[in-house]
């Protein structure tokens, strides 16, 4: 499904700074940015440019100093912490550089985690988990623990976990950063499929130009400011 014109992410005058002792370090200043539904956006830039901070703010795991972020109908910058947690559970899927699977849980249980927050019955959860693992091609590895899977397979389990609640937005922080070329290629193909076949909106932070090539739109961040398109 190609990107439609309607923006799903609307960012206005966003600013964020960090405090280190008495020093205030500005990370993002006056960011204005729209992302259309079904778009695959890559955020690039040197280390410390604020791209991960921007991703965290969009994903609702960090709070802005000023400005607003509206995702769909919800202005997430106004939500209280516990409301934000509930919102994340249903609306954002996370893909991390180091997969961040829970080592003591099987692939199935890892994927099931976000569903435990939904109130679905066990049988319904099973259907969702099996569907998500089939999408990533790991239906036969459900009972494996993360340590029994390769890096690429672990990242696929992490993607299954990200899509199992069927969120509109997927945020990916260097999803191929820890993978060899072949596995990285597979993961990028999978993400591309999620955008085209399932209509997901993907926002990805990456250093890898090959990964960025898959995106519809590449935005560069430099010293906390977005470069013009």
């Amino acid at each position: 499904m190609p990107a439609s014109g309607e923006p799903i992410v609307v960012i206005r005058n966003l600013a964020k700074s960090y405090r280190r002792g008495s020093q205030v370090i500005p990370v993002l200043s006056d960011i204005n940015f729209d992302i259309a539904r079904g778009e695959f956006v890559a955020l690039m830039g040197p280390s410390g440019s604020g791209k991960s901070t921007l991703l965290n703010l969009i994903a609702g795991i960090d709070s802005a100093d000023a400005g607003s972020i509206r995702i769909g109908e919800v202005e997430i910058t106004r939500l209280a912490e516990s409301e934000l947690a509930r919102w994340r559970a249903g609306n954002v899927g996370f893909i991390f550089q180091f997969y961040n699977l829970i080592p003591v849980l099987t692939a199935y249980e890892n994927v099931e985690l976000p569903l435990l927050l939904t109130g679905l019955k066990r049988r319904q959860r099973r259907e969702h988990v099996e569907a998500a693992l089939s999408v990533v091609g790991l239906a036969d590895r459900m009972e494996h623990y993360p340590s029994q899977l390769s890096g690429g397979q672990q990242q696929r389990v992490a993607i299954a976990r990200a899509i199992v609640t069927d969120p509109e937005i997927l945020v990916a922080d260097e999803p191929t950063g820890d993978l060899d070329r072949v596995s990285a290629e597979e993961i990028l193909k999978l993400m591309d499929r999620l955008v085209h076949d399932f209509g997901k909106t993907v926002i990805m932070v990456t250093h890898d130009p090959r990964a960025a090539e898959k995106a519809h739109l590449i935005r560069h961040l430099e010293k906390g400011e977005l470069s013009p398109i």
């Binding site: 795991i61 960090d62 559970a89 180091f98 829970i102 927050l117």
Partner: protein, 389 residues
């Protein structure tokens, strides 16, 4: 279910099973001491309380705490015998025994060290008044003879107390003609012989106590009021069970205080151990905590998962401790009963109450050890936690 699955907490304990085992062992040791103390007190009380029978009344000289300190004159004993509350036996005689209690020194078989032993001068109905006492070997001593029977526990542990052996006390030789078994009661640590012979041998003009069976168990209060108010009598009456419970009080209290002091000191160590373990667990799983929070789990879910983990750790310790303590039931302790200054043998007794108390105690320790680390886990900033990768 809107929390982190229980399997997360359980499997994390299993994953670092060596640390879990070490920490749980530390807690287990404390639970062991805690349970063993309670078992010891319980065993002591059981032994002493079982020694008495609720239908029996013990009459002692006023304000004497034990039979050893008491003296009941012959004339007073006659008066007590004629009271209407005293039950009558099938042979028409009152079920009342005038007894003498004296302490002597006997040497232990294993260490050859002397220890105090109770000698009880008994009347014809003494055995009838104590159904728990059963003659195991030999026969009862004949009235008017220098013969004695020894409790099974004494016969085993003291020189001269075995069947057919001879004891020397009260300037006479006494032949052991029987061994009686009194189960786990205090009588198992006594030597019994004819009261009149004993009074002569020890030059005692008075009895130590008068024990009788009540005709009607509800008659006790009236009897007590009348006897204690009688100006001819300087005695007080107690139900036999009450008497032995009072006897156990000082010792139980001592054991309890000792046990509690040990438990408290040890438990501080164990709680600190659990806290360190749980802090380490939190430190090792910072990224996991960040991930779970990012996925939408609330702070309280993270806290519950870590508290649960720590409670399970405590429970493991509790089970280890209780299992260890249950083996203590095989051990019989022989010690000085401070109320009567005599030797008393008793065992550790494990009850369901002690079991629950011990497990609850281990859970409390687990909770105390896990609370602070769980709070730290719950208060982590998501972004900082995720960056810890």
């Amino acid at each position: 279910m809107k929390g982190i699955p229980y399997s997360y907490s359980m499997r994390n304990l299993w994953t670092r099973r060596f640390t879990t085992l070490l920490t749980a062992s530390g807690m287990g040791l404390v639970v062991f001491v805690f349970a063993a103390t309670l078992m010891l007190t319980e065993g002591l009380q059981k032994t002493l309380v079982a020694t008495g029978s609720p239908d029996n009344v013990m009459v002692l000289r006023k304000s004497s705490n034990s039979e050893v300190q008491s003296g009941v004159e012959r004339a007073q004993a006659e008066l007590l015998e004629s009271q209407p509350e005293v039950a009558i036996g099938p042979d028409g005689n009152p079920l009342l025994a005038k007894e003498l209690v004296v302490l002597i020194n006997l040497k232990k078989r294993d260490s050859n060290k002397p220890s105090n032993v109770v000698i009880r001068g008994i009347s014809a109905v003494s055995l009838q008044l104590r159904p728990a006492v059963v003659l195991k070997e030999g026969r009862m001593p004949r009235a008017g003879s220098a013969e004695v029977v020894a409790g099974a526990s004494l016969a085993r542990r003291f020189h001269g107390c075995g069947l057919g052996e001879t004891l020397r006390f009260g300037m006479r030789d006494w032949r052991v003609v029987g061994v009686f078994d009194a189960g786990s009661t205090g009588f198992s640590s006594e030597i019994w012989g004819d009261v009149d012979q004993m009074m002569q041998a020890f030059r005692r003009p008075v009895y130590s106590s008068v024990i009788f069976r009540l005709k009607d168990t509800t008659g006790f209060d009236a009897y007590k009021a009348r006897v204690e108010g009688d100006p001819r009598l300087t005695v007080e009456a107690k139900r036999e069970t009450r008497y032995y419970l009072d006897q156990s009080e000082a010792m139980s209290q001592f054991l309890n205080i000792l046990g509690m002091v040990l438990t408290v000191v040890f438990s501080i160590g164990a709680v600190i151990g659990a806290t360190i373990t749980m802090y380490a667990a939190v430190a090792n799983r910072v990224t996991e905590i960040g991930t779970l929070r990012a996925l939408g789990f609330q702070r309280r879910s993270i806290m519950s998962a870590f508290v649960l983990e720590s409670l399970l750790l405590g429970l493991c310790g509790g089970i280890l401790g209780v299992v260890g303590a249950s083996f203590m039931q095989l051990i019989t302790i022989s010690t000085m009963n401070w109320a009567s200054f005599s030797e008393l043998a008793f065992s550790f007794a494990l009850t369901f109450g002690i079991l629950w108390k011990s497990l609850l105690f281990s859970l409390v320790m687990g909770f105390m050890g896990g609370a602070l680390p769980a709070v730290r886990a719950a208060r982590m900033n998501i972004v900082v936690a995720l960056r810890a990768t």
